[in-house]
């Protein structure tokens, strides 16, 4: 079975081309879908890439969460299709209410772009199945609003249901306050929904998919998805 990814492009999305290039490098076929489309048929996985949908005006992801494409996205999710939201895409999923919690401004009240380490807490999701639990990945973050907020009950339920997929950590894999770049609750960098078919993360795997750029850890994520869908190994890690 050939795997097809759909990349949703909102006005203001700006990581669409990078994401497509990284998928190509992993041997995955992908197609852009403009936000006014109303169907997402034929895609095993839908990516909401990074950027500034609608300029991030009002709140990040708020206006995009009402795009014409959104009903189709909900149908895709309800049917068990995979969705990954990267950075701004994660913020859109939160605003849609598909993932719990909300994003606040970084603790430093500044935009941050740098490489960070994240710990793989859950390797039994379609998005991380090629990782080992406890593995440390190196990927860049680049955001102003990545300070993940959730109330205590919500956090407990995320942990109990094993929905915390990635946490900010140091190079040794310890989740310390110093290794938390933005103040996120429980060092959370990525979570999935209870059904484990929707994944949102702040780091950019598409920017860590080429050794020339300093890391190939992001490929693990794209290849996990492709493999979990097709049931066979594709592309080459490393």
């Amino acid at each position: 079975m050939s795997v097809r990814f759909g990349i949703v492009v909102f006005p203001g999305t700006n990581c669409d081309l990078d994401t497509k290039a990284a998928l190509e490098a992993s041997g995955v076929e992908s197609h852009f879908v403009w936000h006014t489309a109303t169907r997402l048929d034929g895609f095993e996985c839908v990516i909401l890439p990074g950027g500034f949908a609608h300029g991030d005006y009002l709140r990040t992801g708020a206006i995009a969460a009402f795009s014409p494409i959104i009903p189709a996205l909900r149908r895709h999710i309800d049917a068990g299709g995979l969705v990954i939201g990267i950075c701004n895409g994660f913020q859109v999923l939160l605003e849609m209410g598909v993932l719990p919690g909300a994003m606040m401004r970084n603790r430093s009240l500044r935009f941050i772009c740098r490489f960070v380490h994240v710990l793989v807490e859950q390797a039994d999701t379609p998005f991380t199945m090629n990782c080992t639990p406890g593995q440390v990945l190196r990927m860049p973050i680049s955001h102003f609003e990545g300070n993940y907020y959730i109330d205590e009950a919500g956090l407990k339920s995320l942990i109990d249901n094993r929905q915390v997929v990635l946490r900010y950590c140091d190079a040794e894999g310890k989740c310390t306050p110093e290794s938390n770049p933005n103040g996120a609750a429980f060092n959370i960098a990525g979570i999935c929904n209870a059904d484990r078919n929707v994944f949102g993360l702040m780091p950019h795997p598409e920017r860590a998919s080429d050794s020339l750029l300093g890391s190939v850890d992001g490929k693990l994520i794209f290849e996990s998805i492709a493999e979990s869908v097709s049931g066979r190994s594709i592309g080459q890690a490393g």
């Binding site: 709140r59 206006i63 009402f66 605003e95 606040m104 009240l109 907020y149």
Partner: protein, 83 residues
Amino acid sequence: MRRARVLVWLKKDVLDPQGRTITEALHGLGYDLVEDVRQGKVFDIKLDDGGVDDEALVAALSEMSRRLLSNPVIEDYSIELLE
């Protein structure tokens, strides 16, 4: 033509880093009488109400506030008709 104002605030138990930074900055400038600052958003909305009554208008505004202008996970809102 009517005007309405919607105020959006972070919920009380959500930490407001911006408000805290402003409080500190004001103290730094010597305004010691300031005890606490909370920062919110305000929207002034011009409406062409087409003769709807206040109740209907507030209902519409509440819906907009809930759906778009605020994020109910972290924010509360209030509505005021101005004239």
